[in-house]
Symmetry: C2
Subunit: 256 residues, 2 copies
Amino acid sequence: MAEVMEKTALFEFLCRMGDNTLILGHRVSEWCGHAPVLEEDIALANTALDLIGQTQLWLEYAAEVEGKGRSADDLAFLRDVWDFRNVLMLELPNGDFGQTLMRQFLFDAWQVVMLGHLVRSSDTRVSEIAEKASKEVAYHLDRSRGTVIGLGDGTEESNARMQAALERLWPYVGEMFASDETDAAMLAAGVAPDPASLRAEFDAIVLPALAEATLTVPEGDFAHKGGRDGGMHTEHLGHILCTMQWLQRAYPGAKW
Amino acid sequence: MAEVMEKTALFEFLCRMGDNTLILGHRVSEWCGHAPVLEEDIALANTALDLIGQTQLWLEYAAEVEGKGRSADDLAFLRDVWDFRNVLMLELPNGDFGQTLMRQFLFDAWQVVMLGHLVRSSDTRVSEIAEKASKEVAYHLDRSRGTVIGLGDGTEESNARMQAALERLWPYVGEMFASDETDAAMLAAGVAPDPASLRAEFDAIVLPALAEATLTVPEGDFAHKGGRDGGMHTEHLGHILCTMQWLQRAYPGAKW
């Protein structure tokens, strides 16, 4: 019984990790061909590719743990909204370039902290994925942090846009640090830390950067929730799935 | 052989009629809850419903003529881009309210003329559908014509927007009057007029209204083509299908 519980919790945990990178990867890929300058366009496309690559690893393992014969592709392309476990922030529309980079920065910081713990996971497979992903994510954070500071401490226009982005996104930050029985099971098994315990490390990365960017952190700790536990996604996720899953829905099992 | 040819042409013709109303109906429905005033919101939603209702009639008959066991729903929700036969103008994004109404006016005028001929079709089923649809479309035209005139001959801002809409859409008008071997077969069988022969009647409706709207008809007769013959749709159609077909693709055969 305990083993079944833990397997269920591990599957859930892996879906959370993989759905975060899948949905953000898809969102970031929407910028391809639309970024303000070529270098940023390529950087965003590379970030998206890294995230989709990480998705492959997380969902491949999730599918194995589940043991029902589903593949990573099946999980990505054949689940409906209510089975997705990404945090809500990542499914929001991109907004402008500043908002996209602000979201990237907030998620990168969380991911750096989370992966930093996961490399010491009791689950070898989890620690291997974290090891590989953390190299990519360190670079993502370096880049998004620099852009947030550059645009925040930039012109009047860019500062106002970054401040607006921060205010739009801040109420979605708290969900990354929510924890429930899945997290308790992962902690007990030594697989993953309790997300709630990561906030101080996150703040240590994010707050100084936002200060350097001359941005004001919004007050209040209200947090939108419902993504990572699948309780209630925003309407945007359904639209993402329409686009993202159409090919596999229209041509089931298509390969190339 | 002649009968097979005619059946194929009739199926093609019916898909053209039904796909026009399907795709425009879907586009217009996107306004639901977003129009500038409540009355316009309801009017647009009603127009969309009329168009979808006409689609049901056209594609139901198309499916019967085809005789392969497909239903109207199958044609609407399970064909891919290359099998759609709507003119390109109808799959373009809505743009602003003015552009949406300008497109509606141009299509309404075409539809009024076309249906006016189809009520005398040698094919009883076609004439019956045309009879029913023409009552709705007369009302659509009355409304879109009034709005085009009101906004064109309105404020500086509304006039500029309507002129921009006309310039954007005008190069897509010509496709409604293109004709090919399908049209020749329909003409020979007395089913439908040659679209090319309808331009004078269309101009007689459209040009005086545009003049009254103080709008300038763009010069040149370049016409985008590739929709009604399925040769090359715009990229927008694929995005429409993602949204429009997702449910039937994700849950094949779903009923309620």
